[in-house]
């Protein structure tokens, strides 16, 4: 009865680890040289603070997810892991929200502010950023499922006493 639960949690954690790692790698390796009205420049993820925040947040969660895999079950640390899961879910949601906001401006521009979209000139960069955001979304959805499942399994022994 215990083994399927542990297996499911382990599987969810591996999926989260994989998607945050993918998000970091895809975003960090996105750069492209383009020409903008006879001026050549290079588009990198570090141009925008929002993308830098996205990379840093996902990197932190990747390292955390990697370390959590080594905690033996039935250890006292799982309460702390639950609390940290909550904090890191909030961090991930915050980072992807910021990156999405800036990416939307890059793709559609903002006519009232006089900001032109840049995706026409650096298409490969835009596609890679989109891929990184998709990986981030998968990480968040899986993380929320994992969080709800952890809370459920954590509380069930406590709620079971009430009958």
């Amino acid at each position: 009865m215990v083994k399927p639960k542990r297996l499911l949690r382990l599987l969810l954690r591996i999926i989260v680890l994989g998607s945050t790692l993918a998000a970091v790698i895809i975003m960090a390796t996105s750069h492209e040289k383009g020409t903008f009205f006879a001026l050549s420049y290079e588009a990198k993820y570090s141009d925008t603070p929002a993308f830098k925040f996205f990379v840093i947040a996902n990197a932190i969660v990747t390292v955390y997810g990697f370390l959590v895999l080594f905690i033996p079950s039935e250890s006292q640390l799982w309460g702390l892991v639950l609390a940290l899961d909550l904090v890191f879910t909030m961090l991930l949601i915050s980072s992807i929200s910021a990156a999405l906001a800036v990416a939307q401006v890059g793709k559609k521009g903002n006519s009232s502010a006089g900001w032109l979209p840049v995706c026409g000139q650096v298409t490969k960069y835009c596609n890679q950023v989109t891929g990184a955001l998709v990986a981030g979304f998968i990480a968040i959805i899986t993380y929320i499922i994992l969080l709800l499942y952890s809370i459920y399994t954590f509380l069930n022994p406590l709620l079971g006493k009430n009958g």
């Binding site: 903008f36 420049y41 588009a43 141009d47 925008t48 603070p49 929002a50 925040f53 909550l86 879910t89 909030m90 949601i93 915050s94 980072s95 992807i96 929200s97 910021a98 999405l100 906001a101 800036v102 939307q104 401006v105 890059g106 903002n110 006519s111 009232s112 502010a113 006089g114 900001w115 032109l116 840049v118 709800l148 509380l155 406590l158 006493k161 009430n162």
Partner: protein, 199 residues
């Protein structure tokens, strides 16, 4: 004598009930409600109109009226919606705390409150961070993408937006504390109807 013992245990138990904690939670929820409501209202009414002279034909200057509204930026629209939903959530929770103590659904009341609080924290954090980075873009521009900053032209718009952002971040911290308190309440749930006090 056994009856006296049970009475003493019951009296001692009822004095251990977390009464001050209930008022602290209510006060925090009230503060969070005011913070999110303030953020929603200030950003929702954020608008600045500026008349600029574009060209001069002869002696008559041609004026163009430009408006900066929060609806122009999807991030700010999301910010307003997120904070609006968060204030509705806080209002419902306050009403529930004050008037609906008996409402319960299969004993899941505290669990539902905790989960809804976590969802609101996630919502506010998403809205606040998106608006914060868009505001940073508007203030500093982005030289690589040739996006000019707009804050030197629309100073009031930027100031009001900054104020709404500060209110939202304060609400985020308050909601985080409230969420942690709700989860703690869930974990140390007292069992008031347990009559098996005898060990």
């Amino acid at each position: 004598m056994a009856l006296q013992n049970e009475d003493k245990l019951e009296v001692r138990y009822s004095s251990l009930q977390p009464k001050p904690k209930k008022w602290v939670l209510l006060m925090l929820r009230l503060l969070a409600f005011f913070a999110t409501a303030a953020a929603t209202v200030v950003m929702g009414l954020n608008k600045e109109t500026k008349t600029l002279v574009v060209a001069t034909v002869g002696t008559t200057p041609i004026k163009a009226t430009l408006t900066a509204k929060f609806q122009h930026t999807p991030a700010f629209v999301f910010f307003v919606i997120a904070n609006g939903l968060a204030s509705i959530h806080n209002l419902v929770m306050i009403m529930g705390d004050l008037f609906g103590q008996k409402l319960d659904y299969k004993g899941l009341r505290l669990a539902m409150i905790a989960i809804l609080d976590m969802m609101t924290v996630a919502l506010i954090s998403g809205g606040a961070s998106a608006a914060a980075f868009m505001a940073e873009l508007g203030k500093n521009g982005n030289s690589h993408a040739r996006w000019n900053s707009i804050c030197d032209k629309y100073k009031t718009f930027c100031d009001h937006g900054g104020g709404a952002l500060i209110a939202s971040f304060a609400a985020l911290i308050l909601m985080l504390i409230i969420s942690v308190m709700s989860i703690i309440k869930l974990l140390i749930k007292p069992k008031p109807d347990s009559t098996t006090v005898v060990p």
